[in-house]
Amino acid sequence: MRWISKKSQHSAVEDGLPQIYRRLWRFCMVLTKDRTAADDLAQAACERALVNAAKFSPGTDLDRWVFTIARRLWLNEIRSRKVRRGEGLVAVEDVDIADEKPAIEVNILAREVLDIVQALPEAQRLSVLLVYVEGYTYSEAATLLDVPIGTIMSRLSTVRKLISTYVDDPRNLK
């Protein structure tokens, strides 16, 4: 019975990861602001999830579990070393994450909103992604980010005002 349970846990993780991988990568991209770093972090999170599949509860949300793994990897094993890529030098891909796609293909306003968000502090970027893009509830986002729900609301309010200012008149941010 126990063996069956473990198999089920591993299957749930192995089968589920490919389905959520692109969203996981996006989460990592928002964290790292770097496409290559997002590749590395997303892959690391997947491997950590596969190794620890026995800890996953089938039937619960795999994305939240793996997002949490990715964030802890980022916080504990990377950022805490206080020695970041480039030590202040900005990798080219950091400067403009969408350079690899022709700008003409992108909705310009949405693209600029993306740039605004990517320029925000990490906590605000993650709150925006989880609530506005991923559709998490405020409570779920608060749980994942280990902050009170009021903090999430406050962060989103700030972002909303910033973006609204720009949407009303793009010159406001120039």
């Binding site: 596969l50 990798a91 909705n107 949405a110």
Partner: protein, 242 residues
């Protein structure tokens, strides 16, 4: 007439979004948002920034990659135990193995080798970096080190994968990564160093073959695999082409 004094109206939600709600309404909406998911859905439906954000973060617009195939195989489990925690750290920071060991007098080649030892085929298995991105990195390299590394993107016997601007103790370090025809990872690293010119020398460092040299205050190292003759030959090609 909702019949429920705690119900939030659309006008209240609009005022909340516009920043025009008074304290009482703000608290009412905040409370509702924390307790009722439908209120959040209504708020987002009224919020003109939401579609922009969804568009901006669209997976296709971001060109989000699919999961690498190596993660879909059982061997991924094995590799992760040994490699990943270190590899992920190194990939971001040029790791403890490089940065923290790179005191001014230390051997930077040794440190780069310790970093490269974490690379496996899968580290570079993805698509090659887009040409404009590579060009941008190499332009930065030119500006930072006054070296033109364009020729290093085309080395017979090595498939170029990506270039990155890293750093050692605040000094820029350019890393260009490759796979050979057997899938063996190689990197060519360039940084500013102190000291006199040194001709190419090949050694085994962290169980990897490495050829390094210094020219005009710039240190170069090509490292990868265990075959000293292969690395030495490839380095000769590099020195001639740069």
């Amino acid at each position: 007439m909702t019949g429920n004094p705690k119900a939030v109206s659309d006008s209240e939600l609009r005022a909340y979004l516009d920043g025009a709600a008074d304290l009482e309404v703000t608290q009412k909406v905040d409370t509702a948002l924390g307790q009722d998911q439908t209120v959040q859905a209504r708020l987002h439906a009224l919020d003109e920034t939401v579609p922009l954000l969804k568009k901006g973060f669209d997976l296709d617009e971001l060109d989000a990659p699919e999961m690498p195939t190596y993660l879909r195989t059982p061997t991924a489990h094995v590799r992760s135990r040994a490699m990943l925690p270190l590899a992920i750290a190194a990939s971001f920071v040029l790791g403890v193995g490089v940065t923290s060991l790179l005191q001014p007098k230390s051997d930077w080649v040794d440190s780069v080798a310790s970093y490269q030892a974490l690379y496996v085929t899968q580290t570079l298995a993805g698509n090659a970096q887009a040409v404009p991105v590579t060009d941008g990195v190499l332009a930065n390299a030119k500006a930072a080190l006054d070296v033109d590394l364009g020729a290093a993107t085309k080395i017979d016997g090595l498939l170029f994968k990506r270039a990155q601007m890293l750093a050692i103790k605040g000094k820029p370090l350019i890393q260009m990564a490759y796979l050979d025809e057997n899938g063996t990872p190689f990197v060519f690293c360039v940084t500013r160093v102190d000291g006199a010119n040194k001709p190419p020398q090949t050694s085994i460092n962290h169980e990897l073959a490495a050829t390094s040299w210094v020219q005009d205050g710039i240190g170069y190292v090509l490292i990868g695999g265990e075959n000293k003759a292969q690395v030495s030959d490839l380095a000769k090609v590099l020195t001639l082409s740069l």
